[in-house]
Amino acid sequence: MSASSAAAPGTGAKPNAGLAWLARIAELRAWLFLLILVVFFETWAQVAYGVTFFGSSYNLQSIAVFAVAPLLLALGSTFVIISGGIDLSIGFVMGLSAVVAAHGVNIAGHWLSPFPAMLVGIVAGLLVTLVPGKINGLLIAKLNIPPFIGTLGMFGVARGVAFLIAGGTTVPVSNHWFASLGNDRIFGLPYVVLVTVLFLIGMHYLLSQTRFGQHTYALGANEQATIRAGIDVDRLKQRLYMLSAFCAGIGGVLYAARFTAGAAQAGEPLLLDSIAAVVIGGASLFGGSGTVFGTVAGSLVIAVIQYGLVFINVEPFWQFVAVGCVIIISVLVDQTQRRFTER
């Protein structure tokens, strides 16, 4: 309880400015991590090899391309985690989408010229994700299955279905437009990065400027209050899990374009990285807090660690150790901040 509570009504309601600062720093911790990593790798590269790390546009582009897929998964997870849920199915929903997109492009290519065939494949890959997303939403909203369990079940279902559709192998695509989407650049900026940047701006708008975003925060803080405010929480949850699956779908489509092949296991190694990115970015797994730009920073932290360690020639296994340490530090910062700022 603040010291001002002893005053008469009318003089209180001033949260301590120092605590507000602490909260601000904790909120921006992902950017601080990123800054520290940049300084670290740049120093190392200069001292050990006499080259610049971040001065190289090749390195920057590689890091950006590297960060795209986990970031797309993480964007959807940002919403779900803010709402107090979790979506484990996205790893294989991404694979499902990649496989369906690859098949879609190939099958449509029998009748259509390459460009519309690509569009058909992209739309198919995106639409298919709405099925697992909707089912996740129904399980969680209508049947009250805990998100961890419901989406873990969907993780298995999507994995199986993706492999079945793929015939147990990778599905190669031959479509030059699709390959160009995944690998070419415009003004030096890879298309996949451009698409991701545009999408994340849209997601930032959705989270910070719309009722949907506002209700997502409220749901994560106090579900009872959200229901009492007359918000249709069931529908909100269904939309959240469909959005999460859709983000995984964009990741899957871009994956298939980049590697000109759809693979069921495309997203498997990215699931935990994407959740880590959300947490490093300042979201709480208890729900109620997080931002899109925090998640962007979190994804960049992970990508810089992974790419940077390879660049400075450290054994790649160290990246798991480094990412793990950053997650733990990040959660510790969050908890410390909470202890001081909440009553």
Partner: protein, 249 residues
């Protein structure tokens, strides 16, 4: 509202039975605008059944509830709230991570168009409404963007009440509003109730604390075992009599 003289809320001869228990047995009470009515009674006396019948959680078996001269039958708490009967719960039903304004407007957020076409949340309007509403309650808040989780218990209570009055609640039901608060905060909440009263709001105040009741209430209804044990004007009674009514004998 043509109820300058009549009661804003008139509860007439309510009965409610749960299995073998007669929870409310011919209970009547009323509330005038600008009046604070206290409900007192031991645990299980029927206080919370009565407010749940008023706020649409339960349906009374028999009897009538008249709001501003019109008989009402609420199918749900939402319907009661829509008609202007708002219950301020102890757990406050606030989203701690949102600002005062966002809490006031939760579920009914105002939008504006950015660049003439892009709908965005109208945070300025929410902040202005928050400032105005809190000032009406004599709480002057400097940091309107801070999440309500950073405020104290009494301030948060004011936010919950502010939301109710912003949306034109006519009857405010406060269930043990001073429980779980420190003494200075309790005083703040009591003076908040006084402020509501001077603004013509009708308040039903449920409390175990006779000291609080005598500090703010105009009238007191005492329940005992589902029945109305007595109704007194606060100036015509004293704590000893109220306790006698509560325990019987």
């Amino acid at each position: 509202m043509a109820t300058e003289t009549g009661p804003i809320l008139d509860v007439r001869n309510i009965y409610k039975r749960f299995g073998g228990v007669q929870a409310l047995d011919d209970v009547s009470m009323n509330l005038y605008p600008g009046e604070v009515v206290a409900l007192a009674g031991d645990n299980g006396a029927g206080k919370s059944t009565l407010i749940k019948a008023i706020s649409g959680v339960y349906r009374a078996d028999e009897g009538e509830i008249v709001l501003a001269g019109e008989p009402v039958h609420f199918a749900s708490p939402e319907a009661a709230r829509g008609a202007g009967i708002e219950t301020i719960y102890q757990d406050l039903a606030l989203a701690d991570n949102l600002s005062i304004g966002a809490n006031i407007f939760l579920g009914r957020e105002p939008m504006r168009n950015m660049f003439g076409f892009l709908p965005v949340l109208d945070r300025r309007k929410m902040a202005a409404a928050a400032k105005e509403t809190m000032a009406r309650l004599d709480f002057h808040v400097s940091r309107l963007e801070a999440p309500v989780g950073r405020f104290s218990g009494g301030q948060r209570q004011a936010v919950a009440i502010g939301r109710a009055i912003y949306w034109n609640a006519r009857v405010l039901i406060m269930d043990e509003p001073t429980a779980a608060l420190g003494v200075p905060e309790q005083r703040k909440v009591l003076s908040l109730v006084q402020t509501l009263k001077t603004q013509g709001q009708g308040v039903i105040f449920i409390s175990h604390n006779l000291h609080d009741i005598f500090a703010v209430a105009d009238r007191i209804f005492v329940l005992r075992r589902g029945q109305l044990a007595g109704e007194r004007r606060i100036e015509d009674t004293n704590p000893d009599e109220v306790v006698r009514l509560m325990v019987g004998g």
